[in-house]
Amino acid sequence: MAILELSNVSKHFGAIQALTAVSLTLRAGEVVGLMGDNGAGKSTLVKIIAGNFPPSSGTMSMLGSAVRFHKPSDARSQGVEIVYQDLALCDNLSAAENVFLGREVMRGFGPVRWIDYRTMYQRAGELFTELKSETRPRDLVRRMSGGQRQAVAIARTRLSDPKIVLMDEPTAAISVRQVAEVLSLIRRLRDHHIAVVLISHRMPDVFSVADRVVVLRRGEKVADKPVAQTSPEEITGLITGAIATA
């Protein structure tokens, strides 16, 4: 069953048509690579799914029932989590504190409540173990590698048992070895039956991790096919417009 279904979603900002009648289906445990040139509408599409703004027209449904997000917390409460391109981490806090930022575990009796660091460290450790990332919950994020920082940002999405994780260019600014680490983190999410939307400019990453690739050009969906049935050359052609549609 489809976790998320977009049908004929359009978005315009004043006179600018950012997205035209895009339909898209996401299934559990599926990694979808979302590709397109700058300004093709990738971020607009992701922001609609994440609840940053509602579509101008078209409908969205999750697990068969219609949804309409007006703010990011609406999407979050329905199980849509987003990993921002800059990861949204606080360098001066520990990994566990970042994972739980805004959702700290509290304990205490009566009105006196304090932060339960022990549970937070333990739970964060479990999440990192699940993600098979060698990240210590007590370490400051400032001292971490790019791959570990990604693990912290991804562990944050796992706190709430999400259905969909949107990832904005997670491999854009990190080293080759760390890219492999991040791609394996994405596979872990898939193993937990989470649908992942991966926005990326990097063809090899999409081809190594995605099950399906969706190409946007000038706000329109020009391709949506399994990775096995296409090639980097074809996708490049679709992105640039050398190939009209597939």
Binding site: P72, A88, L93, L101, G102, T129, R138, R142
Partner: protein, 341 residues
Amino acid sequence: MDPSLEQAIGRRVHRHWLSWLVGQQTFWVSMAALLAFVSLTLASDVFATQQNLFNVARNFAFVAIIAIGMTAVIITGGIDLSVGAVLVLSGMVIGMTMNAGMSIWLAVPLALGVSLAVGAFNGVLIAYVGVPPFVVTLGMLSIARSAAMVLSNNRMVYSFGPDQPALLALGGGFVTLALPFVDPIRIPNPLIFLLILLVITSLVFRWTRWGRYLFAIGGNERASVATGVPVKAMKISVYMFCALCAGLAGILEVGWLGTITTGLGQGMELTVIAASVIGGANLSGGIGTALGAVIGAALIEVIRNSLTLLGISTFWQGIFVGSFIIIAVLFDRLRSRDANE
């Protein structure tokens, strides 16, 4: 599950407590203060006397109380230049109302309430209108001092109505602590207020959401917004907290001096910021401790006191305090460079 991975994640980096200690700026500032303390005891007969230490403790308590509030603001990446003006406004409110015969039980909450209102005004402009903290509080520095002048018509107030003894005892009094084998120690009231505030603030910084959000906002404000931290409400509350500290110091200082003029606390904001920075607060946000602010304030007062006792012109004070600010920041730079390598 891979056991070696679990071990790696579960491993705490066991740093020796000594190596942790020497990495703390608060430790080095404490050492500097201690060194100054010991050398002054040797160099001057007067320094280590009970009366002089009593004065030093009381004098630095006012700056230290405000420095705790300032540190909270600096941790969020902000600054509050209006603390000296809030101090005099709070002092003037309590002075004028008690002069008019109001009970201290009403005058104190009123003075603190005015301070909180000033802090809330700063906070709203900073959080909701997006005016830089430097500009808002620079304006408030002028407004609050001017309001104190308007309130008092720039008079000196030295009679505080029927509750005058209570006010003088509040700021100028002391608690006698009896210890075995030595003379009883007199602890000035402002120092007691400072110690209570220090303990509470230290616990709050570490163990409450409010405290951790201060650090999160200073570390990455955009991330804090994205993860649902109530950044705007936090900013308002932290400027209110800082103003409350300034207001409290104002009440205590009036009680100690037994008089108030509109010149009180002039230029104090710079000493307070210096105390916070020497104590390890980072002006770019995200780092700072309450204890550091208190020790920074103590160091400044010990320097000031020592120059007087050693017969050195007080004109030198600025050079010493300024050098400490620069050394403290240089130390922080060196340390963070070590951490990055």
